[in-house]
Each structure stands twice: as C-alpha cells, then as structure tokens.
Symmetry: C3
Subunit: 156 residues, 3 copies
C-alpha cells in the first residue's frame, strides 16, 4: 500500500479535505514525545458544518454513520498535515473519542461510531485498530451530530 495517506484515501474513492484551521487560541495537533494529539473534529462539507441535529431525532442512524465518516476524514486530514502525508512516520492510532449528539432514548452509539472505526481501519490497515469510547452528548459545536478526537503514536 502507498505510504501517502492522501493516495490511500483516494483509492477508497474518498477525498482528503483541507485540514480545518482553528479560529481561536487552540491548535489542531500537538506532538508530545511519541504521541500526536488531535483536536475535536466535526463533519465538514466544503468547509461548512454538516449533519446538524441529534441522533434519535432528525438525524437517522445512516446519516450518523455518514457524519462519523466525514469527521474521521477530518481527523485524517489533520494526521496527514502533521506527518507531511508520510505514513511511514505512523506507528498506529491509539485511541478514538466519539461524541454523538443524541436523545436520552438513543442506544446505538456503537453503530454510529463504527462509521469512523471502519474508515480508519480501511485506510490505515493494522495501524488503524484502536481503543475507543463512544458516548451520547447533549449538543456539539455548530449543532453537528458527531465529533471525534484521537491520539496517534508516531515513530521515535
């Protein structure tokens, strides 16, 4: 497989977005020792927040999965930016955080999270397997349905 993350994503028929830029006093990725931390990423289409609403209400499970895929592409865009698009510098993803705007009755957080987990494994192979925590939250920035963050391990 190619060591370019951008090429791998294109081989899946997907498109690596331009990494979003924070509009405040924070940054989107930080390296500490061998760990790369990435800020919470929301689903963006043409740079604009997409999939507005809650699971269990206006957002269907299938839409939630799409939202998780889109947010995962945002994580991968930050990863590519941090690595200069060179996957040989990546040991693996360690941890995925999945935050799903959901009603109190919604119980399928796992199914929605799979949208992101599957995309990460399809793109990164064995390096894409991760621990994760998926929870249903009250609301997310810009009203989106899904937000993701992650920790990756880099080569020394």
């Amino acid at each position: 497989m190619s060591e370019s993350l951008r090429e791998r994503i294109e081989q899946l028929g997907l498109h690596l977005p331009t990494p979003s830029q924070p509009i405040a006093n924070y940054i989107n990725h930080v390296v500490s020792q061998n760990q790369l931390f990435i800020s919470g990423q929301i689903p963006l289409l043409d740079g604009k927040p997409a999939f507005i609403g809650r699971l269990g209400e206006v957002i269907s499970e299938a839409e939630g999965i799409n939202a998780a895929e889109l947010a995962a592409l945002g994580l991968l865009a930050q990863l590519s930016d941090a690595l200069g698009d060179d996957l040989s510098k990546l040991v693996r993803i360690i941890r995925l955080g999945v935050f799903i705007a959901a009603t109190p009755q919604f119980q399928r957080q796992g199914a929605v999270a799979n949208g992101a987990s599957n995309l990460l494994v399809n793109t990164l192979g064995d390096k894409g397997r991760h621990v994760r925590t998926a929870i249903g939250v009250a609301s997310l920035p810009s009203g989106v349905a899904v937000e993701l963050d992650a920790i990756f391990e880099l080569t020394p």
Copy 2:
C-alpha cells in the same frame, strides 16, 4: 497482597468477569510505550448490558454506584487480560473517565463515580489512586447508566 488481580478481586468477595469482546473494528486495549489505554466499558451481568436508564430518573444513586462498580470490574477484566493477570507489570492507574447517563437536574456525578474509584483503590491499593473526570451525558451505548474508560501506566 497477591500479584494476581483475579485473586485480589475474589478476596473482596467479587468476581472478575470474562473480558468483553468488541463486535466491530476496534479493540479493548492498546499499549503505547508505557501506557495502556482501555476502551469504554459498560456494566455487564452475564455478558448482557445492565442498569438501563438515567440517573435522576429510573436509576437511583445506589444503583448508579452499583453500575459504576460493575463497569470498573469490566475495566479490571481488560487490565487482567492485557497483563496476563500479573500485577507486578502495573505501575498504577493514571486516569479514569466516568460517563453517567443523567438528567439535566442530576448533580451527584461524584457520588456515582466513587463506586468505581473505591473499587479501584480497594483492589489495587496505592496503585489504584487516579485522576478522574466525571460528567453527566445524554445517553450511552445499549442505554446503560454508566460507562468508564481508563489509562494505566505499565513497567518499562
């Protein structure tokens, strides 16, 4: 004290469950350098989700504490699986994340989280003391009342 986590838990009159298996593209524990990350664990009885509902509604504070204990046993089952049940490989627990399905009015997240914190300290002694973050969330996978995740430090 025994260096078998299983034996310590049995000495407390409790039972270490079989570690749950993920049913998707993620895994339950990952080691990165000296850190062991564990996926979100929910309360399971005979392998089935238990304590369904929210704090401040159908789940009482006492039930929430029991749910937190049960989810903590799930964390310890993953820890035991990762260590081959040998506690001499454990430096300490670093961080506990506590997610409590709760109404907007519920204010006793700390009391519920103590169910998990106390079990960890009772089982692991000084190695069980940790930082933690406890929050009330809208809903959790399978509708359970409590979910926990954790980071442990291992010997080099």
Copy 3:
C-alpha cells in the same frame, strides 16, 4: 516573564485559587513519565461551586465564558501545586477537555471554551497553546455550567 505561575496570574489582575482537595478516593494530579494529568476542575468561588445551570437556559454565553475562566484557574492551581509553582518544569499544555452543561439547542460550545483557551495562552504564552475537545453535556457535578480537564508535558 516570571517563572512563577502565581506571579503571572497576578500580573493579569487575577488570583490563583487554593487547589481544591478531592473528597474521595481520587487525586487531582498524577505524573506519568513526562505527562501530568489533572482531574476535572469546576468553577469555584471561595471554594464553592459557581455558575450553576446550563448554557442555552439560565447561563448566558458571557457567564459561560466566565465559568470557563474560573475552571481554568482551578487547572492552573493544580498545575502550580504539581510544579511547586516553577514554570521552568513545564514544556507545554498538550490537551484541554471542555465539558459544557448545555441544552440540545446550544451551538456555541467553542465560544465558551475560548474563555479557558484564552486564559491559558495569556498566562503561559507559547506553552499555553493546546489541542482541545469541547462538547455539550447533560449535567455536571454540583450542577455547574463548565468542567475542564487537561494533560501537560513536563521536562524530563
């Protein structure tokens, strides 16, 4: 700039509070290798929980920003306690977690989180830039509007 965190905060016209003491089986800071983990901190005034309520309801955006600043001072109090108030031991803040008690309709989690991000950068300079994840939650301990946690990197 001074290497005393307390002095820097006083130069901003603010006051570093006494670090809160946990009232249960957890601790407020843990060092693992080069990383310092800090427990969730809530806004305290004279040691008592402040800014009770949810964003989008009884707590205005301006009050939410103030609550985030106050919780950030709590993080800095823990940081000062862990470092013996000596900032030369600090490499940087790595990650900020921002939990905002909010209605399902609330969309300005980022603006509230900026209250904390700005205070950290104003106090710590380049060492204060961080990744962050901001989410809206159902409810927080003692009913407060904002809770923060953090990971810092220390010198070897």
